[in-house]
């Protein structure tokens, strides 16, 4: 770091420093190729790697047993279990107190439709009612309700915990400062790292599933709460104070209601993250859709897995749309003299439907539940269709060609190249990248983070992880950005592509894996391909968003200056959309780091595979070290790219 003085905000010095680092990296790599580099500079010798995992195990065991945390969490578990049992009884008839359930599917669908209507009119009513009707007809009612029964406990708990922390972080700056980094790590930590502690502390089964879900869903709730409270207009605050509010009254009657929209956006995110965990928590015994999906995939029933995937997407889209409608729903007054019945007609309708269908189900069992053999599952037919598609010669030869070119000429050489670069050279390259895009602070962060990864002892696996992410994001850019540019030309296509993005994002990523393998085999292509699908979503979405929010005056000015379509795009629209697109790029990288762990189920040699292995045991320390490696790499990109986007936005005066 002798050249630190060069590294200032001045762009010229910044790029010189970056070049210097890059130069060092090239020299090191050349030396390595010439076999002149001492081996301890190529890879850190084993003896120099501190036994982080063992140390962490000691710490965990101390906290778990000596400090009695396990006793505490097991005590909490029994409480949570009672709640889950009760909701389990109501939703799918688990034989527990209060022994009322299960609710008939018709009643649930009816009430859902009424709520949908109340929040967003007929379209939402059809979506909400339709989702539950589909679930029942396709024969997944019980497993869907097993999932829902846990979500209705986990989501509100995540909401309450997130809200409380959000309020605390808003009230006390030191809490805010303390939890910000923790939240960043939590948001980039691979989900496997949540799962193992959840099992150890909260017992395998729905309790662990609920806890892992809650932990996963909390961070955005905290952030949105803090943000919303900070945004409350000072005049409203003063109006509250002048009305003589006490501190609690201020929070209860002024701050929280005024921050309603942001808090509800947080609620929306909580719901979406809870749904994202439906499949993942199945690894630790969460029953329901996820468990069934894994079982179906384990016995190669693609059609049925696909149907479960659709159910999850429908549930996610319904809850997403409903909670978004709730965000923008504003109170409306009733005309004078409106009767009680009219004022509460949705409530009355919902109650009537619920009671009506419940009574009806006593007479006609089909109204209460649809059993196997009565449903409309098309699993077998879908299987046949998929197999038929694969048997077409054209498909096989095309995928074989792609597989050959990508694996043999692109991906494997790229991986081998990355593995051949000496460790310090990789770190230098990353630092150079961070300095040139972010600045000095980002360079230091990148150096420290990747240095820690090197010290973790999982360097080669980390590099393979990184290679998969970079390869996938590059391919995703090649496809996703042009797609976004093209779609942004028309309102209609923008909307369609955005809906496709929503669907692709909520569709359980596991289901991509099987077709990927069937098309490309257990190879790097399948791994990178399935990551690409996932990483493309934010790239396309933010490209569309960035281009469509370019101020109208700018494009009009370009038109009046006589720019052609292409000139306008290259010189006006893309430069202005770039900061927004950078946010999409950042998300793409985050999504890729998420998906690369899932792609371990195809067969990889990266961190994900090692993490998957720890899941079977009780290796908390190792599990944590691996998770942190992923998190550190992801955070480096996050910090650098977000810094760049902010700088760029400021420079363009777009903030």
């Amino acid at each position: 770091m002798a050249d630190a003085p060069y590294v200032t905000a001045n762009p010229f010095n910044r790029s010189r420093a970056a070049l210097l680092f890059l130069g060092c990296a090239v020299v090191l790599t050349m030396l390595q190729y010439a076999a002149l580099l001492p081996s301890w500079l190529h890879r850190l010798p084993e003896t120099m790697i501190p036994p982080f995992a063992a140390w962490l195990d000691v710490v965990f065991n101390f906290i778990k047993d000596d400090l009695g945390l396990l006793k505490l969490t097991r005590f909490l578990t029994s409480g949570l279990e009672n709640v889950l049992d009760a909701s389990g009884n109501i939703f799918f008839g688990k034989r527990r107190w209060p022994n009322l359930g299960p609710m008939p599917w018709t009643a649930v669908a009816g009430v859902a439709a009424v709520i949908g209507y109340y929040l967003g009119g007929w379209r939402l009513a059809a979506l909400a009612g339709g989702t539950f009707v589909w679930t029942a007809l396709i024969g997944q009612w019980k497993i869907a309700m097993e999932t829902v029964s846990v979500l209705v406990v986990a989501a509100p708990l995540a909401f309450i915990i997130g809200l409380s922390w959000g309020i605390a972080a808003w009230k006390y700056e030191w809490i805010n400062k303390a939890i910000k980094p923790v939240l960043s790590v939590l948001q980039t930590l691979p989900f496997f790292t949540y799962l193992l502690p959840a099992v150890i502390f909260f017992k395998v089964g729905p309790t662990a599933g609920a806890m892992a879900t809650i932990v996963y869903a909390i961070p955005p709730m905290i952030l949105m709460t803090t943000l919303g409270l900070q945004k409350v207009s000072p005049e409203v605050v003063e109006a509250g104070k002048m009305s003589g509010c006490s501190r609690f009254q201020m929070l209860r009657h002024v701050y929280l209601p005024s921050a309603r929209s942001d808090i509800l956006v947080g609620v929306n995110q909580v719901i979406m993250l809870c749904l994202a965990m439906v499949v993942l928590t199945a690894f630790i015994g969460m029953p329901g859709l996820g468990a069934k999906l894994l079982a179906m995939m384990g016995s190669f029933k693609l059609g049925r897995s696909f149907e479960i995937g659709i159910t999850i997407v429908l549930l996610a889209v319904t809850l997403d749309r409903m909670s978004k409608a709730w965000v923008i729903k504003q109170p409306v007054h009733f005309e004078k003299g409106t009767s009680w019945l009219n004022r509460h007609k949705t409530l009355v309708l919902a109650v009537c439907l619920f009671v009506g269908f419940t009574l009806l189900s006593k007479v006609i069992p089909l109204v209460g539940s649809i059993g196997r053999g009565q449903d409309f599952s098309q699993g077998r037919e879908l299987d046949r269709a998929i197999k038929g598609f694969l048997a077409i010669d054209g498909v096989q030869s095309v995928t074989y060609g792609i597989r050959y070119v990508l694996n043999v000429w692109v991906l494997n050489p790229f991986r081998d190249f990355m593995l051949s670069i000496p460790t310090p050279a990789v770190i230098l390259i990353i630092v150079a990248f961070a300095i040139s895009l972010g600045g000095r602070r980002e360079g230091i962060i990148a150096g420290v983070f990747f240095g820690l990864v090197a010290l973790s002892g999982w360097w080669d696996r980390s590099i393979i992880t990184l290679y998969s992410v970079l390869a996938a994001v590059s391919i995703a850019m090649l496809i996703g950005i042009p797609l976004g540019v093209w779609a942004s030309r028309s309102e209609k296509w923008s909307r369609r592509i955005l809906i496709a993005c929503d669907t692709a994002q909520t569709f359980p990523s596991f289901i991509y894996l099987i077709p990927a393998i069937m098309l490309f085999g257990i190879t790097a292509t399948a791994v990178v391909g399935s990551i690409t699908i996932f990483a493309m979503v934010p790239l396309t979405r933010y490209t569309i968003e960035g281009l469509r929010t370019v101020p109208l005056e700018m494009t009009e000015a370009a038109d009046m200056a006589g720019a052609t379509r292409m000139q306008k795009l290259m010189n006006v629209e893309l430069p202005l959309a770039l900061p927004t697109m950078a946010v999409g790029f950042n998300q793409a990288i985050m999504f890729a780091f998420f998906m690369v762990i899932i792609a371990a189920f195809i067969g990889t040699q990266d961190l994900g595979q090692e993490l998957q292995r720890t899941l079977a045991g009780t290796d908390l320390g190792k599990n944590f070290v691996l998770g942190i490696c992923v998190s550190l790499m992801a955070l480096t990109f996050d910090v650098v790219i977000m810094k760049w986007a902010t700088q760029k936005k400021q420079a363009l005066g777009l903030t």
Partner: protein
């Protein structure tokens, strides 16, 4: 007109924004200029202000944006903690009040109207107006009754169940006014209440406001950046610049005898004959012959009389009592713009 104790009395009040204002102010000479302080990294929101507001008086604080007028009024209600000086409300030092007593003071004595209304978006008109009553724990029935009363007073009858976003700007501000009046405050703060409204509505609201004030006769601190509005409404005007008060006087005096160049610039384009009233011109030492005129008449209103009359001094009465006389020539000068 003025009672023994002023309703609000502030002495050498400072409000400085920055990293450690108290320490900074302690070691800084009080005559350091606003710009120099900014160089030091501190903003003097209120700079050594001393001011009294009397019972039943309408004091208008006038200044451009950033002049510190809003900050000053927030010091009066301790929405801002002041850095130095004392503020007494009805003889009590508000800086020494415990949180609970401060809340009690606001609940019983103070009302405030805001520029962007500051309404709670999730509450109906009725619930917004009843909000201060709810906060002090009044039961539902009484607070509803009182809220309906003030809603009627501001002319929003029949819209009790509307939500703020369903109302026009002028109507929203009526809600703001109703809310501030709900607890029957003795002191009424209005922070640029009409600035966010378009000109036609603004005029209408000013008239409405004057009507209300005539009925209620409250002690008012009114903030505006609009000099015409200040002249129209004020008993006294305090003109602020860079946190300090340039001049505090009656409209007549300010127009006739601006204390600084800054104040004079404001008065330049004002039609003085509309502003200056007989009462403001009257000198106590003088007496005049013949029929007196009322102190509230503006020079413009007296134009015909001033031209046709021949007396040198014309006697002035307020509420039937003689308060002196003014020089006809001086009044004519104002009328003809020769001053």
């Amino acid at each position: 007109m003025s009672s023994e104790i002023p309703v609000i009395s502030c002495k050498n009040v400072w409000k400085v924004f920055g990293a450690d204002p108290k320490a900074y102010l302690a070691k800084t000479p009080p005559d350091r200029s606003f710009d120099d302080m900014r160089e030091d990294g501190y903003i003097a929101g209120v700079k050594d202000v001393s001011l009294d507001v009397h019972q039943g008086e309408m004091l208008v604080i006038m200044g451009l944006s950033g002049s510190g007028k809003s900050t000053l009024v927030r010091c009066f209600s301790r929405l801002h903690e002041i850095t130095a000086g004392t503020i007494e409300v009805e003889g009590q030092d508000i800086m020494s009040l415990a949180e609970k007593d401060l809340i009690d003071l606001r609940r019983s004595k103070m009302g405030m109207v805001f520029q962007s209304f500051g309404l709670l978006p999730h509450r109906s008109v009725l619930d917004n107006v009843a909000f201060p009553l709810e906060m002090r724990g009044q039961d539902k029935h009484t607070r509803r009754e009182r809220a309906l009363e003030v809603i009627k007073l501001v002319g929003l009858e029949g819209r009790e169940d509307f939500f703020p976003r369903e109302l026009s700007g002028g109507q929203q501000q009526r809600v703001g006014i109703a809310r501030s009046l709900a607890i029957e405050p003795d002191i009424w703060f209005l922070d640029e209440p009409f600035s966010a409204l378009d000109p036609l509505i603004r005029k209408e609201m000013q008239d409405e406001f004057l009507r209300l004030q005539q009925m209620l006769n409250k002690t008012i601190v009114f903030i505006t950046h609009d000099f015409d509005e200040a002249l129209r409404l004020a008993d006294r005007i305090a003109i602020m610049k860079d946190g300090a008060i340039e001049q505090c006087d009656t409209p007549d005096k300010i127009v006739l005898r601006p204390a600084t160049e800054y104040v004079r610039k404001f008065t330049e384009d004002v039609d003085k004959s509309r502003v200056v009233r007989a009462g403001g011109l009257a000198e106590v030492s003088q007496t005049g012959e013949g029929d007196p005129v009322d102190a509230g008449l503006s020079v413009q209103k007296m134009a015909r009389m001033l031209i046709e009359d021949t007396r040198e001094f014309i006697p002035v009465i307020r509420k039937g009592k003689p308060i002196g006389a003014f020089s006809r020539a001086e009044a004519l000068d104002i009328l003809l713009g020769d001053q």
